[in-house]
């Protein structure tokens, strides 16, 4: 008896881009990605942590990331994700789109 999925990130699709960007630096597991996002954003970006997983599934289905079972730094079994070649291409596309978008927003805001 589910309800329609609620989009709760302010910029639609930005979570995907953030994950791809994170993974383009290093391979990480789910929790690691969340931590990285928080730290690198100076705790400004608070992702609803659960939303990460549907996003990971989506990315993997599209073939942009690849998850394999491995061991974390503190020796726990976890699924470690890494970006694929297609993922890097997608990241470039999204980055460009994002740049355009932010530029457009900045112009609108600056015009005031």
């Amino acid at each position: 008896m589910g309800r329609k999925p609620q989009k709760n990130d302010s910029l639609p699709g930005s979570l995907d881009m953030l994950i791809l960007r994170t993974l383009s630096r290093r391979e990480l597991h789910g929790y690691g990605i969340v931590q990285f996002l928080q730290q690198s954003s100076g705790n400004e970006l608070l992702v609803e942590e659960g939303s990460l997983y549907p996003a990971l599934q989506r990315l993997e289905l599209n073939g942009w990331i690849d998850g394999v079972w491995g061991v974390t730094s503190n020796n726990r079994r976890a699924r470690i994700y890494k970006i694929t070649a297609a993922g890097r291409k997608q990241l470039r596309v999204e980055t460009r789109k994002y740049a355009k978008l932010t530029l457009a927003i900045a112009r609108v805001m600056g015009a005031e």
Binding site: M1, R3, H29, E49, Y53, L61, G63, R76, A78
Partner: protein, 909 residues
């Protein structure tokens, strides 16, 4: 798409790993928070809070690899199976009755299709027409046959108002009509050669043959499987004798179509050369016949010269059947308009007297795409009756499903209300209910397919009466199956949808408050139950009539022995024997059969008694005693020891024996009824019967008890004249052996003796007398069996409906019953309260269906024997059975009602 599918397949594993991933996430988060100084519990709670709704996130993730629709469908199906499992008996009965309904419909309809609608497997069957004619009744006021038809070889069938309809023509008509070349591109003739003896490499077998004119195969547009087919050159006097054989024969006797070409065969002891093989799907022009050997028309001059002489020269002898292929653009009506005057002119010239001229045949053309109509004439009506019955059964079944779903929806109003108030989407709930109904219907449909597959096979067997070469082979009709299945699914959808929408009305509070759930409305259910009862009664009544008919047929007094008699036929003429040697051959053979240990007596006759009359008359013309013509006397030619073997009592004189030789004085044994009618109390032995046309006299040597001549439906005590086979020759003989124990044990010895006597003669139609008799009533047996089955099915289904409705009613009234009992109502009163309603429903159903059943039963009048279509006994029994079944179905809920504990009931409220 493929990847999605792979994901979907691995979804269970993926769910598990996703759960593990999330679990790890939560654990790490909690550990981190703990490190920041939180207690274990708080850290865990905080981690969960920040994570969000775990279940929902899992759901969303799963949605990525499996669309929501499918995942929900899977849920619904799973849930549907669970609810079905919770109501096992109910669901099983619904599914089963649906399966039987769908299956039975498919089977019967598949047969209808193959009998009534299938086209001949030839090129462009639509342009074929069959030539028939009709004329006024041939009998004049004195019941004398006055007609241009002086002789016939084939089948006449009655048309409207006693008129005569047939497809047989004299050869001259074919020659004449063939000249008219504007309407037909080809006109061809053929006639049934009946059983021929086919000898291949010394091995004889009896096969169906057909004589065909030279244009036959070309006209039908059939191409050979091997060799060539009969053409114009083969069909003339003096042409080299050639034969075309069926594909099946080429396989069985030559091991393949190509091997048969050029082989020599003997047909009725006349050598023929096989020139071709017909394609496997070809069965001639009559779906009922399926010839195995095709011979040129004029080859009958070689095979049966005596009969053939008359055929080509006599313009009043009717024997050949015709079919034509219309030229492109010519309609049947145009062809009729062009040919009818031509035929009229021709046939007028063959009439000799004014009496004959006054009732000349009129040509009628009929569409020939379906081939000849003999099967249709025989089976269309029984099939329509069966179709009507199975249609009713499907209706009952659908009503049952509807009822079940209505009751269940009503019972689940509360459940639905809870779901709705928990935030389930209305559409989602409706969809779930629909999934359940469709699930039920689909299961029924799937089982129905299995049932239909099995049914088609057993029906072929039942209708075929065990005939070895029965040609009516129905294939499962997938279209029909689809329609029946779609109907049931549609029924499931519709009757699932109405209550589903009702029970998901936004206003859920009343349903939640009402402990029992369910509104007051179950009128729909009552209507359905009444309809079911009414329909079952119709079927029950029909079954009753057919069972009664069968009982009457089985209790018919035969006047001769039924058990311990073995019958089989031989045709020595087909192996080249001729009179008078043939008579001696048959007589010797009888003695040898009689000498088999265990055989107490053996006899021979023109045919078995039950099929007497079909083989054609043994004597020509009328019979007279002094100057009085014997009216309605039936003749059977039989050999020595006939009465002894058949255990027909001899009342006076003697029976046939070996003294009756071709040269000695012709003798007759008459039946008691004939003796009483024409001789009163005088002793007829020694008196004479004269045969003016044969210019012979018969001396009456004995009087037998009455015996039923011909089929069971014939008159009980006819006047019969038994003459000696030795004195009135017959080509084919049916032997009868009276045996000790099972007659079939002696078959081997019979084969050995026959082979020893003449290996060219095949022994055919080996059967026990009992089976031979039963074969003539196989349609009645089939009907009685099928209808009884249908009636049981209908009754059971209706009872399930009734039971369901009453159970639901009782469940709804628990409170009321509880109060009544608390106020001192006795158990019996409660039982009666429920049963009264059952009886009321049954009575309403009966009131509706009795008039319907009575008027419908008139339609099956022709299937009944010694049973009136409005037979009151059957009506009473059917009604009684129905009421008993209704009470039985209603008793369980009534009993449950009476066991209600008032305290518990009231507390629940």
């Amino acid at each position: 798409m493929l990847r999605r599918l792979r994901y979907w397949i691995g979804s269970a594993r993926r769910s598990e790993s996703l759960r593990e991933e999330m679990e790890l996430h939560l654990a790490e988060k909690a550990a981190e928070l703990e490190a920041e100084g939180m207690t274990v519990e708080r850290a865990r709670a905080e981690a969960l809070r920040r994570f969000g709704n775990v279940g929902q996130k899992q759901e969303e993730s799963r949605e990525v690899w499996m669309t929501r629709f499918w995942s929900e469908l899977l849920q619904d199906v799973r849930y549907g199976f669970r609810t079905m499992a919770a109501n096992k008996a109910f669901s099983a009965l619904a599914v089963l009755s649906l399966a039987l309904g769908i299956g039975a419909n498919t089977v019967i309809y598949s047969f209808m299709e193959s009998v009534l609608m299938r086209s001949l497997p030839v090129a462009d069957p639509e342009s074929l027409v069959v030539l028939n004619w009709h004329s006024r009744p041939p009998q004049d006021a004195n019941k004398q046959w006055v007609h241009v038809v002086h002789g016939v070889q084939g089948l006449l069938w009655p048309g409207d108002k006693g008129s005569l309809v047939t497809g047989m023509f004299p050869y001259g008509a074919l020659e004449n009509l063939r000249e008219q070349k504007q309407v037909f591109s080809t006109l061809f003739g053929y006639f049934n050669a009946r059983k021929l003896s086919l000898t291949v490499g010394g091995q004889a077998a009896s096969v169906h043959g057909e004589y065909v004119s030279g244009e036959y195969f070309q006209g039908l547009g059939v191409s050979p499987a091997a060799g060539r087919l009969i053409d114009l050159d083969d069909d003339r006097r003096g042409a080299p004798p050639v034969a075309v054989i069926s594909f099946a024969i080429s396989q069985n006797r030559f091991g393949g179509a190509p091997n048969a070409i050029g082989q020599s065969i003997l047909i009725d002891n006349v050598p023929f050369t096989v020139v071709g093989v017909t394609p496997p799907e070809f069965f001639g022009v009559d779906p009922a016949a399926a010839p195995e050997v095709f011979l040129p028309l004029h080859a009958n001059l070689l095979v049966d010269a005596a009969a053939a002489q008359r055929m080509y020269s006599d313009g009043n002898f009717y024997w050949i059947e015709m079919m034509g292929r219309l030229r492109p653009g010519v309609t049947v009506a145009q062809a009729q308009a062009a040919l009818a005057p031509r035929f009229h002119q021709w046939v007028e010239a063959t009439a000799a007297t004014d009496g004959e001229r006054s009732k000349l045949p009129t040509l009628m053309l009929a569409p020939g795409a379906g081939g000849l109509g003999s099967l249709r004439r025989e089976y269309s009506k029984p099939l329509y009756v069966l179709l009507a019955m199975v249609g009713l059964i499907l209706a009952i079944t659908c009503a049952n499903i509807a009822n079940l779903l209505l009751a269940r929806a009503a019972a689940r109003r509360r459940e639905m209300a809870i779901r709705l108030s928990m935030g389930a989407g209305r559409f989602r709930v409706v969809r779930q209910l629909l999934t359940e109904s469709v699930l039920l219907a689909s299961l029924g449909g799937a089982l129905g397919v299995l049932f239909a597959l099995w049914g088609v096979r057993s029906m072929t067997f039942l209708l075929g009466r065990g005939q070895e070469n029965f040609t009516l082979h129905a294939e499962l009709n997938w279209k029909v199956l689809g329609v029946s299945a779609a109907l049931s699914v549609a029924c499931g959808l519709f009757f699932g949808l109405v209550p589903a929408i009702q029970s998901t009305r936004p206003d859920v509070m009343p349903a939640l408050k009402n402990g029992r759930g369910g509104g007051p409305r179950n009128r729909a259910q009552h209507i359905l139950v009444v309809a079911q009862i009414a329909m079952s009664f119709v079927i029950l009544f029909a079954a009753g009539l057919f069972v009664r008919t069968l009982k009457e047929l089985n209790s018919v007094q035969l006047g001769y022995a039924r058990e311990n008699i073995l019958l089989f036929s031989l045709n020595a003429r087909q192996a080249g024997h001729r009179d008078p040697e043939m008579g001696t051959f048959y007589a010797d053979l009888r003695k040898r059969f009689e000498s088999i240990p265990g055989v107490s007596s053996a006899t021979l006759a023109q045919s078995s008694i039950i099929s007497a009359g079909f083989a054609g008359p043994a004597i020509k013309g009328p019979m007279k005693i002094d100057a009085v013509t014997l009216e309605g006397a039936r003749v059977l030619s039989a050999g020595p020891r006939f009465l002894t073997t058949m255990q027909i009592p001899l009342l006076a004189g003697r029976e046939m024996d070996d003294r009756d030789q071709p040269g000695s004085k012709p003798v007759a044994v008459i039946s008691e009824r004939l003796a009483r009618t024409y001789f009163g109390n005088e002793n007829p032995v020694g008196r004479l019967i004269t045969l003016p046309e044969e210019k012979r006299e018969l001396e009456i040597v004995g009087v037998s008890a009455n015996l039923r001549y011909g089929g069971l439906k014939n008159e009980a005590a006819p006047m019969t004249v038994i003459v000696a086979v030795s004195q009135f020759s017959s080509d084919r003989m049916t032997y009868a052996l009276r045996t000790a124990g099972d007659p079939l044990r002696y078959v081997q010895s019979v084969y050995e003796i026959a082979r020893e006597a003449d290996s060219r003669i095949p022994v055919t139609n080996v059967i026990t007398q009992a089976a031979e008799i039963d074969r003539t009533i196989s349609r009645e047996v089939t009907f009685a069996k099928l209808c009884t089955g249908f009636a049981v099915l209908a009754l059971l289904t209706a009872c399930v409906g009734l039971y369901g409705t009453m159970s639901y009613t009782v469940a709804r009234q628990v409170g009321e019953i509880g109060i009544r009992m608390a106020l001192g109502a006795q158990r019996g009163t409660v039982v009666w309260m429920v049963l009264r309603r059952v009886l009321l429903l049954a009575a309403v159903g009966l009131a509706i269906s009795v008039p319907v059943a009575l008027s419908a039963s008139r339609l099956v009048k022709s299937f009944l024997f010694e049973t009136k279509p409005n037979d009151p006994l059957t009506l009473a029994v059917a009604g009684g059975v129905l009421l008993c079944a209704a009470i039985l179905a209603g008793y369980a809920p009534a009993r449950r009602a009476s066991r209600i504990d008032p305290l518990a009931a009231l507390r629940q409220e």
